[in-house]
């Protein structure tokens, strides 16, 4: 048997151990990235093989937590892909205005940069006051930081160009308060955002959403899990509701393209067309 095949077995065993011991299910995550993270973890702790760390993962929760942190890398930024926020502003917001109350779900919100960007756009388009925005992630540490809404000032300076490109009507600095080299997001943005823990692998539907924003989360899942999650989103969306994926996530490569119309191909914004049966 070739070494990669053996490693494949080891990875299966490790993920099975994690699932049965701690309930976190990474078995259906995109394999190449997971393997890279495991290998990196192994190199950092000076471990020799994946099989060797399995007992420690089973018996030592702190050790498992160190590894788990590698599995939920919450890399994100404000106004990433400005043309997406411009499309939300120009194409989606006018439709959202037709509903008296709107519910929005930002799934996989990481440390919150994305949901604050979205909140700013909705506010400038006059629909934020009628919205409830659910921002969820399964990583509690990331979620706590999202709730705090405190970021490095340099990161926001970098984002302000993107905010302008996204059609920003004011200045990004209007939405935060500087404190030394950090900034705190304005509390009026937080008023309509509900942060909560939700695991896309195991938790259930969130009702009657008008917009679901889930970007660069499903790229970490394999096709089967993507199917489950897209099923969850399709069930959660109100008729005519919008789904916005990452710019390199395309419904064409899933089983769900028939249930949505393309609203903006580049920004990966879709509209649910078929009502649930």
């Amino acid at each position: 048997m070739k070494p990669p095949q053996i490693e494949n077995i080891e990875v299966d065993l490790l993920l099975e151990a994690i699932f049965r011991r701690y309930g976190y299910d990474f078995r259906s995550y995109a394999r190449a990235s997971i393997e890279r993270r495991i290998r990196q973890f192994l190199a950092d702790i000076g471990g020799e093989s994946i099989s060797q760390i399995i007992p420690k993962v089973l018996y030592d929760r702190d050790f498992f937590m160190q590894l788990a942190r590698r599995f939920s890398i919450s890399v994100t930024e404000m106004f990433r892909d400005p043309f997406v926020y411009r499309a939300v502003r120009e194409t989606v917001a006018p439709m959202l205005r037709t509903w008296p109350h709107i519910k929005i779900w930002n799934a996989g919100c990481a440390t919150g940069e994305e949901v604050y960007s979205l909140a700013i756009v909705l506010k400038e388009e006059g629909v934020f006051d009628r919205a409830t925005v659910y921002a969820t992630d399964f990583n509690d540490e990331a979620l706590a930081r999202a709730k705090e809404g405190i970021y490095e000032i340099d990161r926001l300076r970098e984002a302000s160009g993107n905010y302008q490109q996204a059609g920003g009507k004011s200045s990004l600095s209007a939405y935060y308060h500087a404190r030394y080299d950090a900034v705190a997001m304005d509390s009026t943005l937080k008023q309509r955002i509900v942060f909560s823990n939700h695991n896309l692998v195991s938790d259930h539907v969130f009702g009657e959403m008008h917009l679901i924003f889930c970007r660069n989360v499903m790229i970490y899942f394999n096709r089967e899990l993507q199917k489950r999650v897209l099923g969850l989103f399709t069930e959660s969306l109100a008729r005519g509701g919008f789904l916005c994926l990452g710019t390199k996530e395309d419904l064409r490569f899933t089983d769900f393209s028939g249930r949505y119309a393309v609203v903006d191909d580049r920004a990966k914004i879709y509209k649910k067309t078929v009502a649930d049966g």
Binding site: P4, V75, D250, F253
Partner: protein
């Protein structure tokens, strides 16, 4: 050409499933030279990581598509990898090969100050295709790719570096050469001709080489 096979040490039964290419500063021009040697029916997929400006927005891929014969695609996540196509990693994403024969993308942190990173692509290619992948490192002012070439070598795959004497920025190929993970050192055009020859050989060998699923 023969030396290349003999170096594998087991005669003429090697199959080729894919080519992975990494470039950085000066790499785009070398890549064009290399790919210009290939015809539109090249029988293997080619995966490319070229370090890009974060705001590239697909421009690199579109430019390449205008200049070379094989079809050039900037893929989405889970896109199926097919022969005769060139897949260029999008700016701001790492690109990997999944064992199912699809493209995987991620926004994990930078590796070697780069996203996409050549090491990330090459390591996944080594895992998915083992000895049946050929990795090529082109011009660049970075050490990205060296660890990836090491992984491809360790898996029994072929490794080729652009001749540093020709490369606009010799550091990247030189780094891999210094790490002793390179089998052949050639100018970009010669690498293109070599790949063309491998392709013809693979076509002659028949269709099972097109099966992208690793290890049968």
């Amino acid at each position: 050409m023969a030396g290349f096979y003999i170096m594998k040490g087991d005669g003429s039964h090697d199959r080729y499933r894919a080519v992975a290419i990494g470039g950085s500063a000066g790499g785009a021009a070398a890549l064009e030279t290399l790919l210009s040697c290939l015809t539109g029916d090249f029988p293997l997929p080619i995966l490319v990581v070229q370090h890009l400006h974060p705001a590239d927005g697909g421009a690199f891929s579109r430019q390449l598509a205008r200049t070379v014969a094989p079809e050039v695609i900037e893929p989405c996540d889970k896109e199926r990898i097919e022969a005769g196509r060139v897949y260029t990693a999008p700016a701001n994403y790492h690109m990997v090969v999944e064992r199912e024969g699809t493209i995987g993308l991620s926004i994990d942190g930078k590796v070697n100050f780069s996203r996409p990173s050549i090491d990330v692509l090459f390591e996944s290619a080594a895992n998915a295709w083992g000895r049946e992948v050929t990795a090529v490192i082109l011009s660049g002012a970075s050490a990205d790719g060296t660890e990836g070439m090491r992984a491809v070598r360790a898996a029994g795959g072929r490794t080729i570096a652009q001749d540093p004497a020709e490369a606009r920025y010799p550091l990247m190929p030189q780094s891999a050469i210094d790490a002793r993970v390179v089998e052949r050192v050639l100018p970009a055009a010669a690498i293109g001709q070599l790949l063309h020859a491998l392709g013809s050989r693979e076509k002659a060998a028949g269709p099972c080489g097109m099966n992208l699923l690793p290890y049968g």
